[in-house]
Structure formats: structure tokens, C-alpha cells
């Protein structure tokens, strides 16, 4: 290790880093992007395999016969739902009781901070109904959950029917070692949140729910079922949960294994598996699948009813039936058999699912990229920030003024505090000032919130230009670089996708912004790469990848609704993406903006 202790070589290394700093940074950036894109290339990824012994070698047989009856129950449920105009609580209680379950209900009330225009709800009242199948000779210590939402309109009636059919069939079996909870939740995630908080007696988001009276011990795994047609062509697996959490990979493996066994088409991100990885289209297919997963994970919102379970360390996934125009159809009996098989295997579990990966990306249902493979992509981007820090420390002429006069740390406090105050305003004001906005402008509450947020975001750009008269841009830049590096590093550890997307847009501007660059051009680039615009690109790319491209106009409307959804997700379920962006990332970007306009 003479490299660092030998002054000559050290000097050479410093010289190299100083002289070639910009090219090295560019190379790192490109290598990071290349690495990330390479993850979708099949030879570079691993094949999925079942790690959990208890689910692997044990054979189970599926005998569920009553798909037709389940559909009839679903139709009955639909009729009662229409009659009551919501959740048919009494009918569900009676039906579940007649199937030999212990039935309980939970009512909840939730007032949203502002009306949700996508789902048209503001003051939500509802009731969850759940029945517990008590396992014989088990002592109420472990449970599995099967949920189906009671949705508005005609959606998901078949799911409830199948849930009740499975409950009846499961009840007459003797092999259960864990209690099975059959839950029909109203108002999708709000009901689910109420139920989970009631079950675990927590209250993270200030909801109002009645306490639960029946429990089955610690929940080991959960599946949510969404089924809106009598026959389906394929089943889609949804994994992304709150804050980008994912269930154990073995749950996905289990689903895939049973789809293979029973012969059901299965998809992830709505994309079928393809075998032509050598061809360009094959590669782009898996790249698209992976990109979709990255975008969904980065959004930090639960993409199905299962998403909220993950906070409680319960492995959960949503299984969604899709009916497209394909010829080959699968009937409800087959789906029932698939679920029966999955539950029997989960029932065999001796421990919680823990053998396989919790951090992964899936370019297809049979391939995965583990954390060890995708982290270098982020690392290559993050190292740019450190390179720039070392560059500025060694090359003091970089920003024109030497460090001969050391300014106090306090001198940079002003821009830092002002930026963060703007962040706090962005976080608090939209929801708080909605009433005032509605009074003075002809907009609805939701529009008021979103437009206030955008207004504050834009106003932040104009704010702090002349506040840092005595500050040196170099110190500010060093602080901003280190701050960004820490922020992105922490974010990527929790939610890789979010960290990576933010790094893609923020690292270039953080690396190359100086007060001496061409101001209008730099400012334009900075705005184009700001977090808000990144969000807009993500929305457009997401639509593109989902094969539902939108015009710029619709994209803008979608962008607005995504902002409102983000704020709602935060206040309803505790999603952290909105506070992260508003309170940390945006102020950090403002610091960089300050540097650009340093006089």
C-alpha cells in the first residue's frame, strides 16, 4: 500500500484525479447507466429458485372443485351489494358464519385531507368483515390471510365469491396448522389500513377505527385477490408495496411454481415471459418490465391491497386476474386450485419466509437481479459526487476564490435554512391553505392543493438569490455535494429505485454546476432536471412502458393527479416519498440553484 503513503505517487494520483476529473465523472455516469441497463440482459441475471425448504420439496395436491358455486356466490354478493349500496355486511356475516368461520366486523371512519378526485371520496365510512378459520389443535399463534376488496361498481365480485368458496372448502379440510383469516375490506387501502392497524393496535396515520375482537396470532403471509371476470386469460402478480418494500422473493417463486404446475399464464407488470433474449426485442421487453418495476417501486405507493402488509413484516402480494382477448381462458376452479395449493404450501411453513431475497428487481417472472448486482449501478453514480468533492478540495481555483479566507460554517447557514424553510412550506402549505385557495380562486380543493404545491415549488426558484452575500460558493457547493451524497445513499438503501432515479437526474447538475457557467442555459438544464420535472418524465415514461401513451396535455393532467396522490398516500398510509422530496431533496436542489446564481 505504498500508493497513498508515497508522496510522489500520491501526488500523481491527485493530479490524475484533478486533471481528468470531468472525464472520469462522465465515464462513471455512463458506466452506471450502462450497468443498470445491463441488468435486464438475461445472461447477466440469475434464475429464480425456491429457497424455502418447507415449500420446495413438500408435495401438495389441489382438489378445489367448486369454482362454479363460487361464481354463483359472487353473483349473490353483487346483488346484495347493489341492494345495500355498499358493503353487504349482514349478508357477509351470515354467509361466513354458515361456512363455519368465526366472524367479526370492524367499522372505520376516515376523513381525507382533501377530496380524492380519482376515487371520488372525501369522508370515508366503511366496514371490514372477516372470518377466521380456526386450525384444529392449533393455539392461535400463527395465521395466514386471504383478502378480497369490496370495490365499487361491478369490480371484484368474483374475487369475493372465490374467497367465500375457498373458505367453505378449506373449512372441511383437516390439515391446517395456521388459522386462516378471510377478509373482505371496503374502500380498498383505507379499509386495509384500518384493519391492519386494528389488528396490530397501532395508529400511525390518525385513522378512526373500532378495535378488533378476533385475532389469529402473528400473520405469516397474505395474498390479495382481485378478480373481475368469470374467466381469465392470465394472472398478474403485483409485488410493490408501501415505500418500495417488496415481499420475500419466495412468495413470487411460489406463485410462479403453481402457475407452472396448474398451467395458468402468469405475468408480472402485465408482461408475459419471453424466451428470445438474444434478439433486440426480447431484451427491450425485459428492460421494459424491469423499468416498470423500478418506476412503481420508486413511487413508494402500494400497488395493491397487499402493499400495507409489508410494514408489519408480513409477506404479501396481490394476484390480479386479467381478461384479455386471448383465446385460452382459465376458469375459476383453476384459480381456486392455484390458491389452494399456495395456501397449503404456506401452511407448511415452519418459519416466516426469510430464506430468499427481500431486495431484488425482476426483469421477468423467472429472472431476478439481487441487491449485490444492482447496487454497483447506483454506486457508480454516487461516486461522482465524492470525486467532485475531492476535486474541489484539491483544486482550489475551481470556483475562482481560494480558501485563503476560511469563512465560518455559519455563513452558509442562511441559504441552507432558507432552502429548507421553502421545503417545509412545500410540505405543509398545500394542505393547510386549501380552504383559503378555494375561497379566492375558482378551483376545487384537490386542484388547490396541487396548484399551491406547484406555486411554492416555482416560487422557491426566485427566493434566495441575494441572501448569501458573504458566502463562498465553494463551501456551499461542498456542503451541497456531501448532503446530496448522504441523501441519495440513504434513499437507495431503503428504496433503490427512488435513489437511482433521483441520482440519474441530480448527480449531473450537482457535479458540474458553478457560478461561471452560461447562466440561462445552465438554469434551463437545472430546471429540466429538477425533481418536479423528473416526476413528470417518470409519469410519461410509465405511460409509455404500459403501452398507454398519453399526449402532453393528458400527461400534465396525470402529473397533477400523481402529485395529489402522493400527498394523499403520505397522509393516509404513511408513504415517505412526498416528505422526502419536499423536505430534503428539493431544498438540496435549491442549494445547487443558489450556486448557479452566485454573484
Amino acid at each position: 500500500m505504498g500508493l497513498l503513503s508515497d508522496p510522489n505517487r500520491r501526488r500523481a494520483l491527485t493530479n490524475l484525479l484533478t486533471r481528468l476529473n470531468a472525464p472520469i465523472c462522465v465515464v462513471c455516469y455512463l458506466a452506471g447507466v450502462m450497468w443498470f441497463m445491463g441488468l435486464a440482459f438475461e445472461p447477466f441475471t440469475l434464475r429464480t429458485y425456491m429457497s424455502e425448504n418447507a415449500m420446495g420439496s413438500t408435495m401438495v395436491e389441489e382438489h378445489f372443485p367448486a369454482g362454479e358455486r363460487a361464481l354463483a356466490t359472487g353473483r349473490e354478493f353483487a346483488a346484495h351489494k347493489k341492494k345495500v349500496g355498499g358493503m353487504p355486511v349482514n349478508w357477509l356475516v351470515k354467509t361466513m358464519e354458515s361456512r363455519g368461520l368465526e366472524v367479526f366486523t370492524q367499522s372505520f371512519t376516515r376523513k381525507l385531507p382533501f377530496p380524492d378526485e380519482n376515487k371520488e371520496r372525501y369522508l370515508v365510512r366503511g366496514t371490514n368483515v372477516y372470518g377466521i378459520l380456526r386450525a384444529p389443535r392449533a393455539s392461535r399463534t400463527e395465521a395466514l390471510v386471504l383478502t378480497a376488496p369490496c370495490s365499487q361498481g361491478n369490480a371484484n365480485n368474483q374475487a369475493v365469491g372465490l374467497l367465500l368458496g375457498l373458505a367453505q372448502y378449506f373449512r372441511s379440510q383437516v390439515y391446517w396448522a395456521k388459522d386462516i383469516i378471510f377478509l373482505v375490506n371496503e374502500h380498498d387501502l383505507i379499509g386495509m389500513q384500518a384493519w391492519l392497524e386494528g389488528y396490530h393496535h397501532t395508529n400511525t396515520t390518525g385513522g378512526d377505527w373500532s378495535p378488533l375482537h378476533g385475532r389469529g396470532g402473528s400473520i405469516q403471509a397474505s395474498l390479495s385477490l382481485e378478480l373481475s371476470s368469470d374467466v381469465i386469460t392470465s394472472l398478474d402478480l403485483v409485488l410493490e408495496g408501501l415505500n418500495g418494500q417488496l415481499p420475500n422473493l419466495d412468495l413470487a417463486n411460489l406463485f410462479h411454481a403453481f402457475c407452472q404446475k396448474i398451467g395458468v399464464l402468469c405475468t408480472i407488470q402485465g408482461k408475459l415471459q419471453r424466451n428470445d433474449w438474444e434478439s433486440t426485442s426480447g431484451y427491450s421487453h425485459s428492460a421494459q418490465t424491469m423499468m416498470l418495476m423500478v418506476l412503481k417501486q420508486a413511487s413508494g405507493r402500494p400497488w395493491g391491497d397487499h402493499g400495507l402488509f409489508l410494514r408489519y413484516h408480513i409477506e404479501a402480494a396481490t394476484i390480479r386476474g386479467i381478461n384479455s382477448f386471448r383465446q385460452y381462458k382459465t376458469d375459476t376452479t383453476t384459480i381456486g386450485r392455484l390458491l389452494e395449493g399456495m395456501y397449503r404450501k404456506l401452511n407448511n411453513l415452519l418459519e416466516r419466509l426469510h430464506q430468499s431475497y427481500f431486495f431484488y428487481l425482476m426483469p421477468s417472472l423467472t429472472r431476478f437481479v439481487s441487491i449485490g448486482y444492482y447496487m454497483p449501478a447506483f454506486g457508480l453514480l454516487a461516486v461522482i459526487l465524492l470525486l467532485r468533492v475531492s476535486f474541489h478540495l484539491s483544486d482550489r481555483r475551481g470556483l475562482g476564490v481560494g480558501l485563503t479566507r476560511y469563512p465560518g460554517v455559519l455563513s452558509i447557514l442562511t441559504p441552507v435554512v432558507i432552502s429548507h424553510m421553502t421545503g417545509v412550506a412545500l410540505y405543509c402549505l398545500p394542505v393547510m391553505s386549501q380552504e383559503m385557495a378555494v375561497q379566492h380562486f375558482p378551483v376545487s380543493e384537490t386542484e388547490a392543493v396541487v396548484l399551491t404545491a406547484i406555486a411554492i415549488y416555482t416560487a422557491g426558484l426566485a427566493l434566495p438569490h441575494n441572501t448569501h452575500r458573504y458566502t463562498l460558493p465553494l463551501v456551499l457547493k461542498l456542503v451541497a455535494l456531501l448532503y446530496l451524497a448522504v441523501l441519495l445513499g440513504c434513499t437507495a438503501l431503503i428504496n433503490f429505485s427512488l435513489g437511482f432515479i433521483l441520482a440519474l437526474s441530480l448527480v449531473p447538475i450537482a457535479a458540474f454546476i458553478t457560478p461561471h457557467t452560461h447562466k440561462p442555459l445552465s438554469a434551463a438544464i437545472m430546471v429540466l432536471l429538477s425533481p418536479g420535472c423528473t416526476l413528470l418524465y417518470c409519469v410519461l415514461i410509465f405511460q409509455e412502458l404500459q403501452e398507454t401513451p398519453v399526449s402532453l396535455q393528458d400527461g400534465w393532467m396525470l402529473f397533477l393527479s400523481v402529485i395529489s396522490q402522493g400527498i394523499l398516500d403520505h397522509s393516509l398510509y404513511g408513504s415517505l416519498v412526498y416528505p422526502l422530496l419536499a423536505l430534503l431533496i428539493y431544498p438540496c436542489w435549491l442549494l445547487l440553484w443558489n450556486i448557479l446564481f452566485w454573484k
Binding site: P136, H213, R215, G217
Partner: protein, 667 residues
């Protein structure tokens, strides 16, 4: 302190009353047990009826039943020695052994056998439950007037199992209660069980006050019992043993209530299966070969919703004067059969359907052998049809509720009818069996919170009595690796703080002893009382994890003991059947009854390391230390300076000379 002392005293008294009452009930049920002479007569008559032509043989060994079986001849109760001597000559080897035993007995000059009396009773209670399931409860009671503690006095066992007798005498046990349970009793669906037990294995023992080292005796006893019952009782050690101060008082006669002689332990994870049932059955005088025990086929018993087997040994009063004690061994087996899985949805139960066996005879050693069927809800037979019909009806107050039972006396030949077998059949007429009265006392427990750092244990105790408040004793045993924050303990009922009148808390010691928390709480009428306490999850040493650490760690059930106001007393308007003068004040005996319920055990996940990690960590750490730390340490501690080129030899010589001369040196 006044209130709880009163409660304890009151409760002890009640327990004694209960014990005595049970004894009384027993004497009422079994045909005059106390009266030995007439008993013998009855049994002789009975024997002559049963025994055909085989000669009577002397059942004078502890394995009576074995050769008794061979010869198909039984003597139900006490056999006098002279009677045995009158017996015909014995032919085979076993009989020779028996003879030998007799000889030794005689040489030791035994007391007259009329004092060494033992008797055996068996009964089965079948109770249709409101949920459609069916509850079958076996009880086998062996009573023996002997004193185990005088060691020279007995080496002769007849009905009482020798293995247990030896345990009692060796470890000076005063009372022993052990239960093995698979499943959780669903109070809200099934009502109260006759004998409650927590999931897993439970063992509590009162030692005699002559025992000096109780801990040692306890350790040895658990190991011996572990062998007898094929169970993991040897895992009972100081980390799961407690000495409750109030919750577990002796159930037999005696007045020592010093908790130093009590040990209580629960193993919530114990799996109960056939290997525990077989040794349990072997303790019965007739084994599983005759009497009610023939019904105990393990494949059926374990095809049920709930299975619990227990064994209770205690001293009881010998007679009504209670001048001396005798030992009582009660073996109980409770099982609930599921309507949906074994009944195929049809509400029809029979002995054959439940046990795939029918009854053909009583255990010939039993002085009483009966089958009870609960027909309280079915007085006119409108709810279900019971066949064969029986004229015998018995009434009893069970758990504060008056119940009516149809009785089948198996010692009576007529019970078996033409087919020589009894297959009690219940066939429902109505589809629904009406609403069940909510159990007056009911408990629930769960872990709240998420994450692996802290959590909160919630215990809910329901008092469903409409207008009576009553106190309960709550006992919580929590393993040391859940570090209870006792300052966060709250007790609330009806939204208000409910201050326990008595709290006994023993903090845990890491790796040595668990937390013990006992509280006396007054439950307001018609209320839910919530007891919460927060805890922190400890990080164990890596060798302390079980082989399946991600399964979680068990916390045993809470025990709720209470004197519950009786349902009979609740109904003050019930004057139809009783004369008016008898029904104004609630009858003392029935006004409260003792009840113990268990909550569900908890499964708590502790922070678990990835056990393949140490290898990775070692590799990584070594690399980091070797590469990174070494060079960084060098950089930090060394000072770097440019080395001067070395001077030539001539210059050095010149400098030495100059130094000697005292002139400036050359540079």
C-alpha cells in the same frame, strides 16, 4: 392490602369447599364408596354376574390388570388377603410371582388390608356444544388410602400406578398437576371446559414442607416426569419456572400455602401427540383394554379440534370427618370433535363416529363407570334425539350453572341391551341450537406494534355479567428476552384507570429467571379490562437462538383465576320449579364458583441475525482491516519528510575531526 387478603382467604376457602364438594359429589355418584363393606358385597355380586367359569385369581400386584386380563376375571375393589389365600392354586409363572409378592407382604407384616384400600371410578361426559361441535370429557379417578411418605410402608401397588407413587414418595410431592394440550379452548364458542388447561404442557407442583432443596427436587422431578410422559418437560428450568404468590393454591387438603414450596412452569411450544397419550393410558388400571378407555384410539382423538390430557394428584379427605387423608389420582382427557371436518356438516354424533369404537363393558376394576350426556338444553328431546334412551337422569351444578344429564351406568348389564354394545347416538332435529349464553369471563391476548425493537402486550379480560363486579387474579409469565417496561403497565376498564389492589412483580434476570406479574383486578360489570405493558426485544447471543429462530419465540398463556358469580344466582326470577321459601337469598354454594381461564400464547419475533452472515462478516472485516485500516493508519501516524542523501565517508571523517577541534561542522 385488606381487599386482596380477603379475596385470597375467601378463595382458599372456596377451593377447599370445591374439593370437598367434589368429594361429596363423588360419593353421591359412585354407589356408597365410603362404606367399604357394602361396597364389597355389591361388587362381589357384580363379579359373580360377570365372571363366568374361570377361577378367580389374586390380583395382588401392581400389574394387576395384566394377568387379570389373561384370566378374564376381575375384582373391582379391595381384596382381602385371606380371600386371596382362599383362591384356587395358581398355575402359571405370573401367579407364582404374585405368590412371592404375597409372601413378602406377609413376612413384612403388613397392616390389615382394610386400611390399604383403593378404588377406581371412570366416567365420560358428552356435551353437545352450541357451535355444533361435540365435547367429550373422560375422567378416571383412583383413590388410595395410604401414606406415600412413610417409605417402608408400601411396596405393593394395586390400582394406583407404581411409577407415580414412587415419584410422589421420592420427591415428597404434596400435589402434582400436569396437563398436555394441543389446541386452544374456544371459550366464546364452546363455553367453559370442565378442566381448563393452556396450550402446550403445564406443570405445577406443591412440595411437602419437609423438602429442603425445592429447586433440586423440582429439577429432578421434571426430568423424571419427562421420561414417564415422553414429553420435553426436561426443558423446564429456572428460565421458565415461577413461584406464583396467589394464583395457584393447593387444591387438596392441607394448610401449607407458602409459595416457596410451589413451582409452576408452562411449555407453550410442546406438541402433544400419540407418544404422550400411550404412557398416559398405561397409568389406568385397565389400560386401554376395557372400560371407557377403549374409546381412546389416538387416530380419532387427534382428529379433533382440541385435545387435552391431564393428570392431577392431590391428598383428599378419606371420609366425611376428614381425620386422615388419602391420595387421589385424577386422569382427565378432554377432546372436542369438529362438526365440519368429521361430521361432514350433518349434525349427528355417535360414540362410534367419534371414537370408531363402541362400549361393551365397564372396566371391571372400576367401582363406578358411567357415561353422562348433557341434555340441559334438550329437556323434552325437541332439539336432538338421544338413543338408546336411558331412564337415569342426574342433575348437577357445574360451573355455576345447573345442568341435567342422562346417565348410562356401564356396570349395569341392561345398559348394553341386546347387541352387547353401547353406541350413544345424538341426532339433531333442529338445524340451529339456539344462542349460547355468553361466557361470563373471557380473556384474550395479543402483541401490538410492529418492528423488531419494541412491542406491547395487550391482555383483555371480559366480564360479561350484566350487573356484578368481581375480582380476578391475573398471572403473567414472560420470558426474560422480552424486557418488560413495568412503568408502562396500565390497567383500564371502561376508559378509566383501574388500579389493581394487589401487584406482585418479580423482575427477570437475564438467562436466569422470567418476569412474573400477578395482579388482583376488580372487573366492573359488563366491561372489558385492558392490561397493557410495553416490552423491548432483547438481542440474544447467537448460540441462544433456537434452530428455527424465524419462527418466533413463545410466551406462555396468561392465567386468569376468578370467583365468578354464578348464572344460577343471576336468575333471581327462577321460582317456577323451586318452593318460594328456598329461593329468596341466592344459595351460598351456588352464588360463586371458582374458574380459571387461559389466554392464547403469544408468538413473538425477536431480531434475528442472518446466520450465514458471520462468514461474510469475517471475510469482509479481515479484508477491510488488512487493506483499508493498515494504510489509513500509516497515513495518520507517520510523518513524511524528504530523505537527505547520505554524506560521503570523507566528509564524515572531516566532521568528526572538526567536532573535536570545536569548529563548525561542514554541511
Amino acid at each position: 392490602m385488606g381487599a386482596e387478603q380477603k379475596f385470597l382467604v375467601c378463595w382458599c376457602a372456596c377451593v377447599c369447599v370445591c374439593a370437598q364438594k367434589r368429594l361429596w359429589e363423588g360419593t353421591e355418584v359412585g354407589t356408597n364408596l365410603a362404606d367399604g363393606a357394602s361396597d364389597n358385597k355389591v361388587d362381589h355380586v357384580h363379579d359373580t354376574m360377570q365372571a363366568t367359569d374361570a377361577p378367580p385369581s389374586p390380583p395382588a400386584k401392581d400389574q394387576t390388570q395384566r394377568f387379570a386380563f389373561d384370566e378374564r376375571i376381575w375384582e373391582a375393589t379391595n381384596v382381602e388377603i385371606n380371600l386371596v389365600e382362599d383362591a384356587p392354586p395358581i398355575r402359571d409363572k405370573e401367579a407364582d410371582e404374585a405368590d412371592h409378592v404375597l409372601d413378602t407382604m406377609q413376612t413384612q407384616d403388613f397392616p390389615p388390608p382394610s386400611t390399604a384400600k383403593d378404588q377406581f371410578q371412570e366416567e365420560l361426559v358428552i356435551k353437545p356444544l352450541h357451535s355444533g361441535d361435540i365435547y367429550a370429557s373422560f375422567q378416571f379417578r383412583t383413590q388410595w388410602d395410604t401414606d406415600f411418605l412413610e417409605k417402608h410402608k408400601f411396596s405393593h401397588y394395586r390400582l394406583f400406578p407404581k411409577s407415580l407413587g414412587q415419584v410422589i414418595s421420592k420427591f415428597s410431592v404434596r400435589e402434582l398437576h400436569i396437563s398436555f394440550t394441543q389446541g386452544y379452548w374456544r371459550t366464546m364458542q364452546w363455553g367453559q371446559p370442565f378442566l381448563p388447561s393452556p396450550p402446550g404442557a403445564e406443570l405445577w407442583v406443591w412440595f411437602q414442607d419437609t423438602v429442603t432443596d425445592v429447586d433440586l427436587a423440582w429439577k429432578e422431578l421434571t426430568n423424571v416426569l419427562s421420561g414417564i410422559f415422553c414429553a420435553s418437560l426436561n426443558f423446564i428450568d429456572s428460565t421458565n419456572t415461577v413461584q406464583p404468590s396467589a394464583s395457584f393454591k393447593p387444591l387438596g387438603v392441607g394448610n401449607v400455602t407458602d409459595q416457596r414450596f410451589l413451582r409452576y412452569a408452562v411449555l407453550p411450544r410442546e406438541i402433544v401427540c400419540t407418544e404422550n397419550l400411550t404412557p398416559w393410558k398405561k397409568l389406568l388400571p385397565c389400560g386401554s383394554k376395557a372400560g371407557l378407555a377403549v374409546l381412546m384410539k389416538s387416530e380419532k382423538l387427534f382428529h379433533s379440534s382440541f385435545h387435552s390430557q391431564a393428570l392431577h394428584i392431590r391428598p383428599v379427605c378419606k371420609d366425611w370427618q376428614c381425620k386422615s387423608t388419602s391420595w387421589e389420582l385424577r386422569q382427565t382427557l378432554n377432546v372436542v370433535f369438529d362438526l365440519h371436518t368429521s361430521g361432514q356438516g350433518k349434525r349427528e354424533w355417535s360414540l362410534f363416529k367419534m371414537f370408531s369404537r363402541t362400549l361393551t363393558e365397564a372396566c371391571p376394576l372400576a367401582s363406578s363407570s358411567k357415561v353422562y350426556v348433557d341434555i340441559t338444553d334438550n329437556p323434552q328431546g325437541e332439539l336432538f334425539e338421544l338413543s338408546p334412551a336411558t331412564p337415569l337422569v342426574s342433575q348437577a351444578v357445574v360451573l355455576g350453572d345447573g345442568r341435567t344429564y342422562s346417565v348410562y351406568d356401564l356396570t349395569d348389564h341392561a345398559t348394553f341391551g341386546q347387541t352387547h354394545s353401547l353406541n350413544v347416538l345424538l341426532r339433531w332435529r333442529a338445524a340451529e341450537s339456539g344462542e349460547m349464553l355468553r361466557p361470563l369471563l373471557h380473556g384474550e391476548r395479543y402483541v401490538a406494534g410492529y418492528g423488531l425493537q419494541t412491542g406491547e402486550i395487550h391482555t383483555l379480560v371480559y366480564n360479561n355479567h350484566p350487573y356484578r363486579a368481581f375480582p380476578v387474579l391475573l398471572l403473567d409469565t414472560v420470558p426474560w428476552y422480552l424486557r418488560l417496561y413495568i412503568h408502562t403497565l396500565t390497567v383500564t376498564s371502561k376508559g378509566r384507570d383501574n388500579k389493581p389492589s394487589y401487584i406482585h412483580y418479580q423482575p427477570s434476570k437475564d438467562r436466569l429467571q422470567p418476569h412474573l406479574l400477578e395482579m388482583l383486578i376488580q372487573l366492573p360489570p359488563n366491561s372489558v379490562t385492558e392490561v397493557t405493558v410495553q416490552f423491548e426485544r432483547a438481542l440474544l447471543k447467537w448460540t441462544e437462538y433456537t434452530p428455527d429462530p424465524n419462527h418466533g419465540f413463545y410466551v406462555g398463556s396468561s392465567v386468569i383465576s376468578a370467583l365468578v358469580p354464578s348464572v344460577v344466582a343471576m336468575d333471581t326470577n327462577n321460582t317456577q320449579e323451586r318452593p318460594l321459601f328456598s329461593s329468596f337469598f341466592p344459595c351460598k354454594e351456588e352464588s360463586t364458583y371458582f374458574m380459571r381461564i387461559y389466554t392464547e400464547p403469544l408468538l413473538v419475533n425477536l431480531p434475528t441475525p442472518d446466520f450465514s452472515m458471520p462468514y461474510n462478516v469475517i471475510c469482509l472485516t479481515c479484508t477491510v482491516v488488512a487493506v483499508g485500516y493498515g494504510s489509513l493508519y500509516n497515513l495518520l501516524t507517520r510523518t513524511f519528510q524528504v530523505e537527505e542523501p547520505s554524506q560521503g565517508l570523507a566528509k564524515r571523517l572531516a566532521n568528526i575531526i572538526r567536532r573535536l577541534r570545536g569548529v563548525p561542522l561542514l554541511t
